[in-house]
Subunit: 299 residues, 2 copies
């Protein structure tokens, strides 16, 4: 199979999926798209994409199907639900799931697909909506290597740092490792800024003084300057971060791996969700600590 | 006062102090040195440094005095103890304390010095023993600005990223902010690697896959590769990190600022100190999580 000659199914045209699908069309791939809310398909339809009526319809028309939805049950429904992909999937098809979901469910779905002579590639991404728009996503890939190799032109159209990490589920595992790091580092940034603010420190000077050495991180260097300016626009929304942390905590519990720092960060994010701040960026974690300490970390 | 024409007192020739003093001599500064264990002075004596018998003797011979010792009581003893600096200090002298100590005690000692017409500059460093040797330390400075400005040639001889952060104690506060970030980020790295190891992930590929994006940090990119190779040599020792975290926690408690992530990291470091691992590098924090999860994060 040469993916460049195949129609490509694309399911899930949200804040991430739509720009990713656009990049594929820009590179000449012919798309068969499906989205629960049909109006989100209009733009791609005008550019020549075929609109499918349901996931089964996508699988009838395309042997390579990309899914980009929110959570494990969404992917299960797309494959196993009524009018789902499994009803019509053709032998040798490849489902590329780019959502962030459970590694365990990924492996189960891959086994289901294998029983029909098909493959599931897990290929979650990081880089947020800007990365999706610019085509610079990091893509962490698990699944049968031969199937992955055939899909490389698709990944290169959507991302930049494309890393094959191993068997089915390993892409999702790598994404969860990423989220442990992101959450713990952001928690440290939030504690540090609130400590500095309560100490009466000049926050911009402080970030400057510590940002060039052993304390440096993407989170500190990119998000702390936004925090002190009061910019809580989302690069990545708290409600999605919290969904990913739920996957991390479930997976860690199933393996009996204690992750107290990650759990702490998740509990602090929960306090923000309870205030209705789920659509703010993850840097708003600082607000949880500000509430506890009675001080704001702003210049 | 032109520091280039002054004799410079230097007290504390440990793993950090000795290479810092060497760099000053290399740049032509004339030193009057004191160290509790006299044998550590020999090398500098052979290069022409004057050896003082006690801190008071240093203050008799030098109006600019650098202190580089471990903890708040050590600095208090140097200034206020028997044969201490305060016994003989000359008007207009400047004490530059480059140790990491309590911001509160720093302010108290500065007030004592002010009462004798003198200044205390707090100038803790980060960058570890390698930074001290190479003269590339980051130096976070608090205290009277006019006194700081006179000392810039000294700082330039020992460090690279030299940032004046404000009034007395603010250099120490900035250093504590640095340690909150370092400890929390390392905790995230430790949790992430143990989660990855228990998941059966290829650890080097995992670090590679997540190290270029939002999960990136100095701790991840520099120390995680050492961890997976089993290299626990100290860039910065656990016992010193734990001393700094004690200062952070004391200072936060006095301000009623909750820092649960930092406290967690400190408790995990405590478990390593109880096993006699205080001389290992801070990356050995991973061993605490390995013990809890029953898995080693090594390739």
């Amino acid at each position: 199979m040469d993916v460049k000659k195949e129609k490509i199914g694309f399911i899930g045209l949200g804040i991430m999926g739509l720009p990713m699908a656009r990049n594929l069309m820009k590179d000449g791939f012919e798309l068969v798209v499906y989205n629960r809310t049909r109006s989100k398909c209009t733009e791609l339809e005008e550019k020549g994409a075929i609109i499918a009526n349901n996931p089964a319809d996508v699988a009838t028309n395309a042997k390579v199907i990309i899914t980009m939805v929110t959570d494990s049950p969404d992917v299960q429904e797309l494959l196993l639900g009524e009018e789902g992909i499994m009803e019509t999937i053709q032998k040798d098809s490849i489902v590329i799931d780019m959502s962030t979901i459970s590694p365990k469910i990924t492996k189960e779905l891959n086994a289901e697909l294998n029983s029909k002579g098909c493959y599931m590639i897990d290929a979650p991404v990081s880089g947020g909506s800007w990365g999706a728009i610019e085509g610079t996503l990091s893509i962490m890939i698990g699944g049968a290597k031969s199937a992955y190799e055939r899909c490389v032109p698709l990944f290169e159209s959507m991302g930049k740092n494309i890393i094959y990490t191993g068997e089915s589920g390993m892409g999702q595992t790598t994404k969860l490792v990423n989220q442990i790091l992101v959450a713990g580092t952001m928690n440290a940034v939030a504690e540090a800024l609130v400590f500095a603010a309560k100490s009466g420190a000049d926050l911009e000077k402080t970030i400057d003084a510590v940002g060039g050495g052993a304390a440096a991180s993407w989170q500190l260097n990119n998000l702390a300057p936004r925090i002190v300016k009061g910019d809580f626009d989302p690069g990545f929304m708290i409600k999605l971060q919290q969904k990913d942390l739920r996957l991390v905590i479930e997976t860690a519990q199933a393996m009996n791996v204690p992750i107290p720092g990650t759990s702490l960060a998740s509990q602090m994010f929960a306090s923000l969700l309870s205030k209705g701040l789920g659509d703010e960026g993850t840097q708003a974690l600082v607000k949880a600590y500000e509430t506890l300490a009675g001080v704001e970390a702003r210049t």
